[in-house]
């Protein structure tokens, strides 16, 4: 919790020496409280004052990085409970479980996972990393899994079974900053010393939330700086309770042991658990199911929940082909607000009519808002259509505009020049099908 000016003032030397540039210690304290000055400007500040101010300004949830290089995953650093209060900042890492006992050729499997790239609304979905299950009886195969993971540059998690086996895997992976996960309920001691020795992050578990908070705080004191919390919950409602109370407790700073990101295991067929975790504050998920039909909705959900609610998601302006349109296909224009784009493109697609959908930069606003703000005027749309080369794509020299902005048609015709026709489309995307059938079919 932030300190008030008076609380800070009591920690200052109260000499009014002016070395900080302010006439009094109180004035300086007020600036510190507002976050506008640094305590470094006070040469006489005590250690106690530095410690107190440092703790108060630390983020409520510590950031933790797993992996190294450009694929490294950093989680934590969240500052709100509801996304609309500000935004959620660090997308949870979605890791795939690699089980050495089940995978014949780890290299081929990891290569396949590493190659996955799915583009969606300006983001590339990829497998964030690999969670290697440590199996004492298959030590060589485990090391092969570690090799494959490193070779493809993916961040690694070690799902430990024994301190010895896990220690060997960590030894191999240590330069890549793996996350070490002890078996749930195991004595954390031996694992904590492995993590401390290599300076890597560690998952802490406990039978209940109180024990979890104290155990995490103790492990941090013992020299493991980066800790993730594994909620003790046995079922979905208990998990929801744990996730909620950990986040709430971290933001309210009720216990230092709660100020860490959350780790979650998701078994086969547990899609609801993954959905709950992504929606409600989990930071690292290790998912056993490697099926694409499970991952695509989870990636998409993460994209939705971690979108900054203050900044509308935007599409890149351009000409989007729906089906395989040609010079005779209809050309529709809309704004670059992602939601608008998705709704319009989905409806066009459903008609089965190949079309050109031109997305114009309207600063991410929906059609009516953009028009009111002057970002979707006839001039602006006309200029954009020419600059994007849309005017060369169709032989019929006709462009369809959203029904809500029929008023721009005259100005747009002028902007496009001789021979161009502007056709007013439906107000709602859901009426594109009857529009194509009843109106467009009578054109070119």
């Amino acid at each position: 919790m932030a300190l008030t000016g008076l609380q800070i003032f009591k920690l200052l030397p109260n000499t009014n020496c002016k070395k900080c540039g302010y006439p009094t210690c109180l004035a300086f304290a007020m600036k510190l409280a507002a976050g506008k000055e640094s305590l470094d400007k006070c040469p006489d500040a005590s250690e106690e004052a530095r410690a107190a101010l440092g703790a108060a300004s630390a983020p409520p949830i510590r950031g933790v990085t797993i992996g190294s290089g450009d694929r490294a995953v950093t989680v934590g650093e969240e500052t709100v409970f509801f996304r609309h209060e500000k935004t959620f900042v660090r997308k949870p890492g979605l890791f795939r479980v690699l089980d050495p006992a089940k995978v014949a050729d780890p290299e081929a499997t990891v290569a396949r996972w590493a190659a996955i790239r799915i583009e969606r609304a300006g983001e590339t979905f990829r497998v964030d990393g690999v969670a290697i299950r440590e199996i004492p009886s298959a030590a060589a195969q485990c090391l092969a899994c570690a090799d494959a993971t490193m070779k493809h540059g993916l961040p690694a998690i070690v799902l430990a079974e024994t301190p010895d086996g896990a220690g060997k895997l960590v030894e191999k992976l240590k330069s890549h900053r793996p996350l070490l996960v002890p078996p749930a309920g195991a004595d954390p001691g031996p694992y904590a010393s492995i993590a401390a020795r290599h300076g890597i992050p560690l998952v802490v578990s406990a039978p209940d939330l109180s024990a979890l908070a104290s155990s995490a705080a103790e492990i941090v004191k013992s020299g493991v700086a980066d800790v993730l919390l594994e909620p003790p919950a046995a079922d979905l409602p208990a998990l929801h309770r744990d996730l909620t109370l950990i986040r709430r407790g971290a933001l309210d700073r009720v216990h230092p042991g709660l100020g860490h990101p959350v780790f979650l295991r998701v078994g086969q067929g547990e899609i609801e658990k993954a959905v709950l975790g992504i929606t409600k504050f989990a930071s690292v998920l290790v998912i056993e199911d490697d099926a694409s039909e499970t991952w695509l909705p989870l990636w998409t959900l993460r994209q939705n929940i971690y979108t900054d609610p203050q900044k509308p998601l935007q599409m890149d302006p351009g000409i989007y082909a729906i089906g395989e349109p040609g010079p005779k296909s209809p050309m529709l224009v809309t704004t670059n607000f992602s939601l608008t784009y998705f709704i319009v493109s989905t409806e066009i697609e459903a008609t089965g009519v190949p079309s050109h959908l031109v997305v114009v930069d309207a600063e991410g606003m929906s059609v009516l808002t953009a028009w009111s703000a002057g970002k979707f005027s006839g001039d602006r749309v006309g200029k954009a259509l020419r600059e994007l080369g849309a005017t060369d794509r169709v032989a019929h020299h006709t462009v369809i505009i959203p029904g809500y902005v029929s008023v721009i048609s005259g100005e747009l015709e002028d902007a496009l020049g001789h021979g161009w026709r502007v056709l007013t489309g439906p107000q709602e995307a859901s009426d594109i099908a009857p529009f194509f059938r009843d109106v467009w079919s009578g054109y070119p």
Binding site: A217, V254, K280, A291, L296, P297, L301, I343, T346
Partner: protein
């Protein structure tokens, strides 16, 4: 240091609304006194209710994966209703009168009444009746249904800010429940309720439809508006504390991701399971954001969400 985590207490509560009357087995929804699904710290007298969607005619836009469980009864509302309740365990139904839309068959209000009667005869659960969408036809169809099925406590879907008077009047006159729809906008959600309340509609007979964005198609907007509506309601705003209904099925199955076959997008995986997951991953976050009624399309999606609700509310009976 031991943990001191006090339960959060709120001044307000969500209204309890009774769906169905007369020949219907009544179902009471909502009434929660805390943040959605926060059963560990607040009282929830009723569990979220799960509806299945059925249609008056064969709906052209339903992908095969979601038609398959309805094989043989698609577009036969009476038979579909019986299957939805007896085989699939729906708490209530939504009859979507797709075919009354001027562009999709333009069926008459009397035909709609016959369809509604067929469903009421086949099952005794409460019924949501969704019209063809805003405009004159919507009012014509829904007010005839409301009049001809007086006293059944039907849920009429829906009135909006621009067009609410007709449906407000028949809701009051014939003893039904009205859905107030708003375009993912908390201010409009409140405004419609104020308008309804000024038109003598008892807000204990109103549901809020915040407009559902499907997964990947605006889910986050709906999610956050619902969280804000719930916060306002719990803070004591009596114009926003109506139960929330989300039309999940139609939004989830509209997504491209639920429609494209696996051979077209090999990285997307099995089409049927993908569609099902799309519906589950739309429904579950909305439950967490405060949905009191979910309208689903695929019975397997309902079964999944049902399992979640069963663990979550072991002591709470439906209704």
């Amino acid at each position: 240091m031991s943990l001191n985590l006090k339960p959060k207490k709120w001044a307000g509560a969500i209204r309890q609304v009774t769906l169905g009357a007369r020949t219907r087995r009544p179902l009471v929804v909502a009434g929660g006194r805390g943040l959605p699904m926060h059963t560990f710290e607040a009282e929830f007298p009723h569990r979220p209710a799960l509806a299945l969607e059925i249609t008056d005619v064969d709906p052209p836009r339903w992908p095969d994966a979601v038609r398959q469980p309805w094989d043989g009864v698609v577009g036969r509302p009476g038979e579909a209703a019986a299957r939805a309740v007896r085989d699939f365990g729906a708490d209530l139904l939504m009859l979507h009168l797709v075919g009354t839309h001027p562009d999709r068959g333009n069926r008459t209000a009397d035909e709609a009444v016959a369809d509604v009667r067929g469903v009421l005869k086949a099952v005794d659960v409460p019924l949501i009746v969704k019209g063809p969408g805003t405009g004159q036809k919507q009012n014509e169809v829904l007010s005839r249904v409301a009049e001809q099925c007086a006293g059944e406590g039907l849920v009429l879907h829906s009135a909006c800010q621009e067009d609410f008077r007709t449906l407000a009047a028949v809701t009051v006159a014939y003893g039904h429940v009205l859905v107030a729809e708003s375009p993912i906008d908390i201010n409009i959600a409140k405004q419609v309720n104020i308008l309804l309340s000024e038109s003598n509609v008892d807000l204990n007979r109103v549901l809020i439809d915040p407009l559902t964005g499907g997964l990947g198609y605006g889910l986050e907007y709906t999610y956050s508006v619902m969280e804000r509506v719930r916060l306002a309601a719990l803070g004591g705003d009596t114009m926003l504390n109506c139960p929330v209904i989300c039309l999940v099925g139609e939004e989830a199955w509209k997504a491209k991701e639920a429609k494209v076959p696996a051979d077209k997008e090999p990285l997307w995986g099995d089409q049927r399971a993908r569609g099902l997951h799309w519906e589950i991953a739309t429904a579950t976050p909305l439950l967490l954001a405060g949905a009191d009624i979910l309208v689903l399309r695929h019975p397997d999606a309902l079964a999944h969400v049902r399992r979640t609700i069963d663990v979550w509310f072991p002591q709470t009976a439906g209704g």
